[in-house]
Amino acid sequence: MLGEKNIEEIFVLLSGAALLIAVAVVILFYTFITRKNKLLAEKAVSINSYEKKMIELELHALRSQMNPHFVHNSLNAIQYYIQLNDIDQSENYLTRFSKLVRQFFEYSRKQTIRIEEEIDLISNYLALEKLRFEDKLTYEILCDDTVDREATIPSMVLQPIVENAVNHGIFHKKTAGKVTITFSQLSEDSFCVVVKDDGIGIKQSKKLAKNNPHSYDSHSSQVLDERLKLLEQIDNWHVEYTIKDRAEFCDKQGTIVTLIFKLPN
């Protein structure tokens, strides 16, 4: 009898101890896992912010590229008016150019700018190109009343596209050309910008660029592609970018670029 009772007690004690050990192991395991997860999460956050920082830096570098062709051609035109002793035109050109350079510096430091500012930059840029191309270039900037001009968009996205329209489309065209830029609101959180020209078209322009593979121009569209990709990655903006040769879908000549900006949530 006694022996049986003893065995029972020992059994209870032993199973109690086993249970205790099991609970302790579970608790230890649990704390270990949570600690590990916490550490991993902290690490992930720091990697994320580091990567984000890298991307921001890259974006900055990509924004701040002013086309050296444009700079030197503008200065060349100023030299022309100086030689002619045309003081008004020399000053006009010089101050416009200086204003544009200032805008470039200011906006390239910012991630986003107001639509109003973007329109101002582009019209200033086109006015300068007009001084160079004279009758060969006309332009129009249209903005729907529904567009909120105070809303912001990523900076320095449109200017390179307009520059391509002038330098690839109109430059190689034998007769006068026109660039039209239209801003329109699609829905509450998305709007669209269309850059249209009646130049030689992207197909012909690419053919010409092939003969001169190392020229500066060939990488300006690459810079834009990279920027749009990075903007998406940094999770701020979704920008849809399509480029079409107008000859493919109507009987007109030229290139049409459509950008759809979807606001970040």
Binding site: H72, I78, Q83, L84, Y216
Partner: protein, 248 residues
């Protein structure tokens, strides 16, 4: 010496600037034709046979290089006029052809015209122009030839054949693998700028070497080049130089 010239640039403003500057600064240049259209430029060159052509690079439909390629015997001196084109300028420099940038600086223009005027009496333009056209068609850097003016005329040498450039009193002696060395009146600094930095390293103020020919480096600060050329490496360049060799 009077020199006949044609100006080709798609912008009338650039033509006007150049013409005005030439009249004021280079009275020996007689402008016999000018055009905004590259096709017309070819016609003018063939009919008027100028001694000198001022040629813009970026033009609609046909750039300056393409224009030059279309002329069967480009016997004239060329001075390229360009707003900005780093790729083009490299190629032009390699062939000792003149160029000026816009907006045009008066001193640069005078210098380019003076050199071109001297060259016209030497009649070396055709060879240089043809070399430029050939180089523009070659992809690999080493295969390209550079043009080196020296006492007897011009030397056309492949970059990869140059072992070592040695500076002496403003002149440069260039050593090759096969042929005899040549003397150039250009300074060593000129070659340092001209030759690609991936292959050519200035180990000393008067020694520019092709790193592909290095056979040995001695700890006391010397390199042994192909065929037992022993050359000193400047003390302040040793660390950078060793790092560079290790990465090759």
């Amino acid at each position: 010496m009077t020199v006949t010239a044609i100006l080709i640039d798609d912008e009338h403003k650039s033509l006007a600037i150049l013409k005005n500057k030439l009249q004021r600064l280079c009275p020996n240049v007689k402008v016999i034709g000018e055009t905004q259209h590259p096709e017309k430029g070819i016609e003018l060159i063939e009919t008027l046979q100028p001694q000198l052509v001022f040629l813009d690079i970026a033009m609609p439909n046909m750039n300056g290089f393409e224009l030059l390629q279309k002329i069967t015997q480009p016997q004239f001196e060329v001075i390229f006029v360009t707003a900005f084109d780093s790729y083009g300028i490299e190629a032009i420099k390699h062939c000792a052809i003149g160029y000026i940038v816009k907006p045009i600086d008066s001193q640069d223009l005078i210098q380019a015209v003076t050199i071109a005027t001297q060259n016209i009496s030497d009649k070396t333009a055709l060879k240089k122009n043809k070399q430029l056209i050939e180089n523009l068609g070659i992809q690999s850097f080493q295969q390209k030839k550079i043009v080196i003016p020296c006492q007897e005329g011009l030397e056309f040498v492949k970059m990869e054949d140059i072992i070592h450039c040695e500076g002496t009193d403003g002149y440069t002696k260039i050593h090759f693998q096969q042929q005899k060395p040549i003397m150039s009146s250009y300074s060593i600094g000129h070659f340092h700028k001209l030759l690609p930095t991936n292959d050519f390293y200035l180990i000393h103020k008067s020694h520019l070497i092709n790193v592909n020919y290095i056979e040995k480096y001695l700890n006391e600060g010397y390199v042994i080049l192909h065929e037992n050329h022993k050359l000193p490496v400047s003390r302040n360049k040793r660390t950078e130089f060793l790092n560079m060799i290790r990465s090759v």
